[in-house]
Subunit: 296 residues, 4 copies
């Protein structure tokens, strides 16, 4: 299939490589051209304007956030360039509200819009091990199935209204952020009682919480080293805000989300914005009067 | 070994049965005699006073909470009855502070005290699948190894100071309570956006959170049925308080624990104290204006 | 002066009456015409379209919220109707962000925009006892002085950038909402210890907190009667959101605001949206298991 | 009257001076003898043991906290020394639970116990301008009236059960701590929007919050200087804990108190324990990325 892929970050790069390997013709565009240019060696066609991507048989967008997505997709020349019946699937983590506006705008132009955000970090993207959460009209989803199979290990369909996939995505990220915060608080507690966090983590992950995410994030927190980031703390704030916006719009009080929001803002004020988002645990350690572990 | 077992609740009953099956001679005592009497048919000797248990080769206590443990163990006649060199292992979820006082009291009497709280519900106790977190002097722990093997699937040793096992236990329970609260808030969010909670749970447990506790608690919350309780919500408040007490003593701010404390108290005020502690999620649903699911 | 006054609610009605009494010629407009029509008897000219108000020497807007303000003021025909050099002063409680957009839009059209939100309820508006917080260019503020003197007891000027007045207004409302929540929690505590809330309030307002707002809100909470509302709880949520939006934009963590947001949403889910915003205290009482006072 | 006064801190010193001026014979005792000795010059008799104070006609205790009060008053030789019918009035801020135990212990010995904690800082104590909250049997309260008149400007009687005075006192301190936290958050918000905190405070205290405590604490926060402390931040934590203990015992969720608890612990971990408790506002400023004001 001729695919236009917009947004070549750490995730997009790996996703495009998998699409190319599977034999698709991929036209890529990125605001910072250098990142897109790197994919030429993998066989991608590098566009100089985003609307070149709009002119393909399938459009995938994977831009950084709402603002970037709005600027590109709602640019007047973009939607006009899309051919009738073409699907635009947004795989980025955007707001529920923007997904609703994208759905309406595409429908008004006789186009198909699908939301399909993903769970997984760049290594999972490279290994085609992403989890994809998709929502849209069933015909579009059927046409996308082979594409999703090239990108991820499993696709969860949550209905025909695209924004529902975004609700599920931001809810899942809220669950992750809550888990990280809980780990941070618990680790501060055990450390303050002179228990090695590794020992506590070993117990947790071999008993009640035998899930990889506990091992991964628990390991980062135990080591108290958060750079380079797998997923930046500043993006964690973005995601907490998305959950809060979805909650506020639907009148759902989420006290844990309130705590998370303030913790992320505080961490950024302390200069931890470039840390992996597990670095939120540094706040709990500091608030307990614990030293940075590398310096203990 | 001749074992005195004090505290025959849902957990204690199963644990005693496993000890009997393994060939130990077990003398049991319970404040409410009927529960202890039921074990006579399994071969247990039923004591009429707690101090009969104190006179055995090994003492295991599994009482409901701090108050019950203090009343029995600190009763003047109890410690006097224990023979020199005997080990008392407290497997109940008690406070870090009480564990410290028990350690001191036993040491003063030339006795050995071990803390060995467990993770697992009654069915896990019956199947000898508990996770045991143990701390105490290494000689005592060595002597206890065969006993622990009869009761659980794995023992995690966290040091020689008994109270550390209690720190780990209350921290683990805090992690569970945080997870349940996060699930409750996220489920309210997806339900309010017209997504079936089962669908969200299916996604979570087959992607980022493939741990049984997510399935179990997520399933309870999705069904919105919390009775009969596997672990009562009122006991959840007890456990949150234990984490907060350990945190307060060590000067560790735990904002999530503060939220949990208020949620459990509110739930009890609404009459949910006898619910399973997953029932805390009912509060999030109600606060979002959602109906009870059975009545949707 | 010929004044166009847009937004004839409980506050606007009283403000227009004071302007008329002071000899101004006031043209009024309201989305629901009946409310504006009532002022005809006081001497107001009743406009059939908002832009008639735009054509006066001074424009005062006092609309319900951001949405209403945007719809009227940003309607294409509105700003075009304003004559060069005319001042538009928005006295409603709008967001900091909207104030910034209004400032830019008026400047682009060669007009003057001033933010001048007020503290005070309808009786204070009727008595010309409002507190006005104003920000804008100094020439405009000087021209507005006699108008503000007709409407309020004191004007606080907080600079030349209009949105600063809105920051101060939403911060002040946050202080009020925090005070009400604290009163609600404290009253639940004393009531649960069998102390009459009136007795506690009597002590507070005659010792550490001798401010009228403590008497007024404390009295409402002690009586546990919240209708009719002086200021609706649902508007309290609006104001908390304005404070949170200003905080989020400037990266200021406000944990109390997070609590307030969830309490207001929960109260609305329980059907208390039409209560006076002091009714947030009902939640604290209920969460403590206390009965409604009228039914004690 | 012959009065035994125990606990000669900043408050006790001023209170004793007023009692001496009024013609009472005062025997003073303090754990650190130097502080008591200073009062000899004012005419006080300096005891070498606390029980000398117990042997007077009236006993006033003003010790630092629960622990100090328990150690002195529950020392076996102390209560035995008190003569039948003598009143012990505890004016310190102690826990509701300790007040209940003191009530029981005195009653068992045929003595009278009254709780009479105070609002006011040392300058108010020196000027006999304290607010006294008293509870106890009415005969004792009647006998204490002339003593209270020497110490304070007004006495609020809240019933015959002494611990109720402590409930009111800890609730009042919770109100103060909530106000300070709200001021800290609001000041961070206005500062981040480039508004001078003095300007915001000027508005607040001349409009909706014309109470001296707002001026005093607002002034400290605006200046961002917290030393020397009028009331130490570490004591603020003690008082928040007292409110939380009273709330926990009565099953009253107090989300604001949870926030305060964590803020005070965090502030102490940052080294602010010796600050005035208004210094909690430094946390909000730091979390917003604001510089210390003296260094702006």
């Amino acid at each position: 299939m001729r695919i236009g892929f917009i947004g070549i970050g750490a995730m997009g790069t790996e996703m495009v490589r998998n699409l190319l390997k599977a034999g698709h013709t991929v036209t890529v565009w990125n605001r910072t051209p250098a990142r897109a240019a790197e994919l030429a060696g993998d066989g991608a066609r590098v566009a100089t304007e985003a609307r070149e991507c709009a002119a393909q048989e399938l459009i995938i967008s994977m831009l950084a956030d709402d603002r970037a997505t709005e600027e590109i997709i709602f640019a007047p020349e973009f939607i006009d360039e899309i051919k009738p019946g073409v699907i635009h699937v947004c795989m980025a983590t955007i707001s529920v509200g923007l997904a609703q506006r994208l759905t309406a705008a595409h429908a008004a132009a006789g186009l198909h819009y699908v939301s399909a955000p993903v769970f997984g970090r760049p290594p999972a993207a490279a290994a085609a091990q992403l989890f994809i959460v998709a929502a849209g009209d069933s015909a579009s989803l059927a046409r996308l199935t082979p594409v999703f199979e090239v990108l991820g290990q499993r696709t969860f369909v949550v209905g025909s209204e695209p924004s529902k996939a975004n609700v599920v995505k931001v809810s899942g990220n809220f669950m992750l952020a809550s888990m990280i915060e809980a780990l941070g608080e618990a680790f501060a507690l055990v450390r303050k009682h002179d228990i090695a966090p590794e020992q506590f983590l070993e117990m947790l992950t071999n008993s009640i919480f035998p899930a990889p995410v506990y091992k991964v994030y628990g390991g980062l927190i135990a080591s108290d080293h958060y750079e380079p980031a797998g997923f930046k703390l500043s993006l964690g704030l973005k995601d907490v805000r998305l959950a809060q916006a979805a909650a506020d719009a639907a009148m759902v009080p989420m006290p844990l989300a309130g705590i998370l929001h303030d913790q992320y803002m505080t961490a950024i004020a302390r200069g931890y914005g470039e840390f992996d988002w597990a670095g939120i645990a540094r706040l709990s350690a500091e608030a307990a009067g614990l030293p940075v572990r590398g310096k203990e």
